[in-house]
Symmetry: C2
């Protein structure tokens, strides 16, 4: 193969087949994908969670991952947030003519490692190569399906007054890392994307707890925007204690230099868990026992005081309304 | 809303929500999508067909459709080729900052019409807006799932010597239309893309016939490449009768001017049906009764003479090997 991706690798003809068997099947192959049918034949149970995301992150390589691993983590997490065991993914690559083949191989290899770790299979794929200048390097879509194992499924509209609001770890890491890498900023302390598949921990939570109302990952728009979506859908208020919000000192520092608010920065390996007060302690115990939840903590409570609003109780005891993200802090964050 | 798509429409924040409710839900809304969860909750039977495709067609509007309708037809067809009833689609939009809002609305509206006609629902979506120059106008990924209703499912590896090879209509229309529109060519006779959802006709076929070995749509790479994939997977030979290949005179004419071979041009509303000789007549009857199959005909026979090869019996009685597509005739054809 050439050391750059050529247009005819996306033609659907012989060159495409070579790219697929020499690269994609090498890292992602399994019985179903290897059949190379236009569609996969899957066997699944009755209630299915399905989610899609296109990844356009810039830069495509960053501390803590690359666009290939991110494309697995993001979709695996969205599928799992429904109380589901993610099972199968599809992937659609859109590649710019001339992308170094080494870069593509690193990306596909990272995707292969990520699916192995998450315990999912890529069962169907599509590769397009478009002329130079019509896409910036590479965009990847992944779509996932999984078996929902709880009834009712956790849902953004199910938060109830009195519920505890838990967060699986610190916020802002992914967003700041992407911006820092893109702009070539050298922060004093190292920051790294938190990008990871959370499904194993999430499945443990819904299996071991009698009731979980909401699971949601605060990606684009960050923690503040995600909580606003939940309070809007559930017609409840969320009161957050500013002192309890886990933000790493290096992320706080980087954000204050750049004028960014970490509560609006994307995360790719964190989740919110909203559930009845009585199960909060047990949930934190389960989360902390997992490396991906070791910094889990309670950040607030659902109330009925200001339906649809997110209220921050500040360090000075005042109250501040946290709105949704307005404008765009950072395009191509994921 | 602005008359152009702005970066913050893809932020995940308030502007994104406005775009989603004012545009996407207006044309694509249904009970599941309206929930706006990160994943959809679906109810499906045990054997599922799943397929993905990213659409990068240039130009985005062309005679016979646009990128929005094409993105539905292509994926609905791939799902249905497994002998499945397509049920649910996801869609991921990647939009270039500055795309006229009118264009986006036309595309989403066409997608809405196409899903209605195909009888499927869009249940989950994702919208990214990327800075000007990082994508050419708009790319769309759709991923679909459907219930497989026959056992075994039709499959590229199931063609058997003696099988009849049927084609649902003329080839080359889509490819020539895209190239003609892109280059501003004015053919004497009007050509138009054949882009259409074939699922209703396909379901009728697998329900009414006792046995169908292969269903496959000859998209990228065209009829010749698709048949090569099938003969390779099934370890059989396909003998085609050149005189029986349905190619419209205007497509033949346009291709000969441009030096293109219609057998290698993409189609978006045609399919190959390979099945036991004894059911060929009944299959043609069913196909011809549907407007999308009215020009259906038999084009050849599966044999065991040259496994893995596609042989064209020419008008002069000679034999010519039809290989897979080499190189790239037309990037961004779908």
């Amino acid at each position: 193969m050439s050391d750059k991706v050529l247009l005819d690798y996306g033609s659907g003809g012989r060159a495409s087949q070579r790219l697929i068997s020499d690269l994609f099947l090498k890292y992602l192959g399994n019985d179903e994908l290897n059949r190379l049918n236009d569609a996969a034949e899957l066997s699944m149970s009755g209630r299915i969670s399905m989610s899609t995301d296109s990844y356009t992150v810039d830069p495509i390589f960053f501390p803590g991952g690359n666009i290939g691993s991110l494309a697995v983590h993001g979709t695996v997490n969205d599928v799992a947030m429904m109380g589901a065991i993610p099972r199968y993914l599809t992937c659609g690559y859109i590649i710019e003519e001339g992308l170094p083949m080494d870069d593509l191989e690193k990306i596909v290899a990272a995707m292969g490692e990520a699916v192995k770790k998450a315990g999912v299979l890529i069962v169907s794929g599509d590769t397009k190569v478009v002329p130079k200048g019509t896409v910036d390097k590479i965009f990847i879509n992944t779509t996932g399906v999984g078996d929902i194992i709880v009834d009712p499924a956790p849902n953004g509209a199910s938060a109830k007054p009195g519920d505890a609001v838990l967060l699986s770890g610190s916020v802002g890491d992914h967003g700041l890392t992407i911006l820092g890498t893109r702009e070539g900023l050298d922060f004093e302390a190292k920051v790294e994307s938190d990008s990871a598949s959370l499904n194993h921990l999430l499945v443990k939570l819904v299996q071991e707890l009698p009731e979980v109302h909401v699971l949601r990952d605060p990606t684009r728009g960050g923690l503040a925007t995600t909580l606003n979506e939940i309070t809007y859908s559930s017609k409840v208020c969320c009161e957050l204690i500013e002192n309890d919000l886990p933000i790493k000192p290096e992320v706080k520092g980087g954000c204050s230099i750049l004028g960014l608010d970490p509560l609006y920065l994307a995360n790719e390996g964190k989740f919110l868990c909203i559930l009845p007060e009585e199960y909060a302690e047990k949930a934190l115990e389960i989360m902390k026992a997992d490396p991906l939840g070791k910094d889990a903590c309670r950040i607030g409570t659902i109330t009925d005081t200001n339906p649809g609003k997110v209220v921050l109780i500040t360090q000075l005891g005042g109250k501040r309304l946290l709105g949704m993200l307005e404008g765009e802090q950072l395009p191509r964050i994921c």
